[in-house]
């Protein structure tokens, strides 16, 4: 089992969710996060005074999937979430030891 952490633009959330559902991804956790990459955000102006915006709002989607579908999902998500501009986001793949369903108590097999 793998955990896919996807940090994407907030405007791309609906598209990515639709793409994930066509790939039969059954559950997900979505969080509102803030952060920046190498560019460290950008500068804005308020009433003639410049100020830095370093923590930009993003959406993080976390899904747990079996190892065999990871590559398909990665390719789809990256294609869907990409705009070509700075700030498109990142995807990370982490190993998962175990997963349990709280209602039924059974171990996730996926």
């Amino acid at each position: 089992m793998k955990l896919l952490k996807m940090i994407i633009r907030p405007t791309k959330l609906d598209e990515v969710r639709d793409a994930l559902s066509t790939l039969h991804v059954t559950g997900m956790t979505v969080t509102e996060v803030r952060g920046h990459g190498r560019q460290k955000g950008h500068k804005a102006v308020y009433r003639g005074t410049e100020y830095s915006v370093t923590l930009l709002p993003k959406i993080m989607i976390e899904v747990i999937v079996t190892d065999d579908v990871v590559d398909d999902i990665l390719a789809t998500v990256i294609k869907t979430a990409r705009t070509g501009e700075l700030g498109d986001g990142r995807v990370f793949v982490l190993p998962v030891d175990q997963g349990y369903n709280i209602r039924t108590g059974e171990r996730d097999v996926m």
């Binding site: 804005a44 102006v45 308020y46 009433r47 003639g48 005074t49 410049e50 100020y51």
Partner: protein, 579 residues
């Protein structure tokens, strides 16, 4: 304080005395000083001054408004009074008119009786007008609360709302107790409001007399001659104007002032700073009478309060902002200002529109009567200055910084409104436009001056909008007034002025240099009074006990530490467990 059951009266008295002195000793020196001063003031001023001769006050409104109040459109009185000055050149004509009136009155007594009804209706019309425009000005409280709340950071939203709310409450208390009496206690002498039936009982200066009055002396706690129908109209109308000056200071002191310090500011504004200058200009005091006493044109003229209200508030705000110092983090170590973006522009715009709407009461209402038909010109002038102020500010900012700024568009409108407040009755629409454009640009320059050069932190730009533009508004009376209105203003030139019959307040462009000088001097006196008085008093107060919150409280935001509540409680991450 529990009273023990005592047999001996003497021991009970000494017991009460011991308990009272213990209570007083527990209070700090400052607060017990204030307590004693308040008690002393109460005792000293609550003595009804029954010595001056004046008609009895009319609390029920049943003797106000009669044939003596009947006038035609031009202001000619229906009742012709007997001329008293036998040596005057027009005595013969006046005596003839009086004799004719007497003869006709004898022939048609029913017409004379009807005139009493007409006079009453005229006064009633003006009562309704003045009260209703006063309610519009009251509504401006909501506008300013929204405007300022939107302009500051989210963590202080509750604090801003409480400041605006408490401002209304506490400044009112001060004005009710002594402010109205200081400002209008002598109105009958030089500034009787004829449109409301006059306030004949308010006829004594506490300090000064005749043409050199400084502080009024009747009507404390709205008792005695102030418990009168006509006087109460004036009270309602003038208290909401005072409240405007009261909330202006909120704009510059917010996000770092303690609530206790703020209450002192409001009491000071309502009791001393506003009413005394208001007496000088509107209450028949010395500045209004400089035309009579020193030949300075019509004396100092300020129609609806560019200086009496706005500059007093704006320059007091400036002094307080300097005493308090800038917000933490406003200026970086290199001295450059940092941006604290507004947290809710929706509030800012709605607030501005409410203020514009309320100004329809502020300016036209200052005629104190719907029977003064100049009210329409005033209303249009007010709007013209507002929109041209906004447009000018928008384009200026667009040109200078590349984008039109919403907050400066709003400030530009308010600047235009403040600047037209003094001249609105005296200028033509053309010059209302000019005043608006100049004010719109002036406010932008003022904001940049305060923030970047003087380094005075003014979160809501109260100093530029109300202080600088208020000063300019009063001066523009002396520049652009065209003489079509205001004949006999401040008791000058009732029959003719500058060679023309019926000519009113006139400015430099139309040939009256003295009025221009008077306006320059008067507006500057206002700035010195408001800034100096506030600066001196609050530097002392600040030394006794700081009126600025601690560093930790300021960084956290004042909502919770000062009031125990958050304006936006969802900002606090908390788990609530309901059993």
């Amino acid at each position: 304080m529990r009273l023990l059951h005592c047999q001996d009266k003497g021991s009970m008295t000494s017991l009460i005395t011991i308990r009272l002195s213990r209570l007083l000793r527990r209070q700090s020196l400052l607060s017990s000083g204030f307590t004693l001063a308040a008690i002393g003031l109460l005792l000293a001023l609550y003595v009804p001054s029954s010595f001056a001769q004046a008609p009895a006050p009319d609390p029920a409104g049943i003797v106000t408004g009669d044939k003596t109040n009947v006038q035609d459109a031009a202001g000619n009185s229906f009742v012709v009074s007997e001329p008293t000055d036998k040596a005057a050149p027009d005595y013969a004509d006046k005596k003839k008119a009086f004799d004719e009136y007497q003869a006709q009155a004898a022939k048609e007594p029913l017409a004379v009786k009807l005139a009493d009804g007409v006079g009453h209706v005229r006064i009633a019309t003006n009562f309704a007008w003045t009260l209703n425009t006063g309610y519009l000005v009251l509504f401006m409280q909501a506008g300013f609360a929204l405007l300022t709340c939107g302009l500051v950071r989210k963590k202080n939203a509750g604090h801003l709302m409480m400041l605006n709310f408490a401002a209304y409450v506490f400044a009112f208390i001060a004005y009710y107790a002594v402010g109205y009496a200081f400002q209008y206690g002598a109105a009958a002498i030089n500034a009787a409001p004829g449109n409301l039936g006059g306030v004949p009982g308010l006829n004594k200066f506490l300090i000064g007399s005749g043409l050199w009055g400084f502080v009024g002396g009747k009507g404390f706690f709205l008792t005695g001659p102030a418990y009168d129908a006509g006087s109460n109209v004036l009270t309602l109308f003038e208290v909401v104007f005072m409240e405007t000056a009261g909330y202006i200071i909120v704009g510059s002191i917010c996000e770092r002032i303690t609530f206790g310090g703020f209450l002192l500011c409001e009491l000071f504004m309502g009791a001393i700073l506003y009413p005394i200058f208001g007496n000088w200009v509107w209450g028949g005091g010395w500045m209004s009478q400089l035309g009579n006493s020193m030949g300075m044109a019509h004396g100092y003229v300020d129609f609806a309060g560019s200086t009496v209200v706005h500059a007093v508030g704006g320059f007091a705000a400036m002094a307080l902002a300097i005493v308090l110092g800038p917000r933490i983090g406003k200026y970086g170590p290199d001295g450059k200002p940092r941006a604290f973006p507004a947290h809710n522009l929706v509030f800012v715009v709605i607030g501005t529109f409410i203020l514009l709407f309320g100004w329809m009461g502020f300016n036209p209402g200052s005629t104190l009567g719907a029977t003064d038909l100049r009210i329409s010109v005033i209303a249009v002038n007010t709007n013209l200055s507002a929109i041209f102020g906004s447009a000018a500010a928008m384009f200026f900012w667009w040109f200078k910084f590349g984008k039109p700024d919403i907050t400066m568009a709003c400030n530009g409108m308010l600047a235009g409104l403040v600047a037209i407040t003094a001249p609105c009755a005296f200028v033509s629409p053309t010059f209302a436009v000019v005043i608006g454009i100049v004010a719109g640009i002036l406010v932008c320059l003022g904001v940049l001056l305060n923030e970047r050069v003087l380094k005075i932190d003014d979160p809501c730009d109260a100093i530029s909008v109300h202080g600088f533009c208020g000063w300019f508004g009063a001066v523009s009376v002396g520049l652009f007034a065209d003489g079509t209105y205001g004949s006999g203003w401040n008791g000058v030139g009732a029959t003719s002025y500058l060679g023309a019959a019926g000519r009113g307040v006139t400015g430099l462009i139309y040939g009256d240099t003295r009025q221009f000088v008077m306006q320059l001097v008067g507006a500057t006196i206002c700035a010195i009074w408001a800034f100096g008085g506030t600066y001196v008093v609050f530097t002392v107060v600040n030394k006794i006990k700081s009126i600025r919150v601690s560093r930790e409280v300021e960084i956290q935001g004042l909502d919770e530490p000062e009031f125990g509540l958050l304006a936006y409680p969802e900002d606090r991450a908390e788990m609530e467990v309901n059993a």
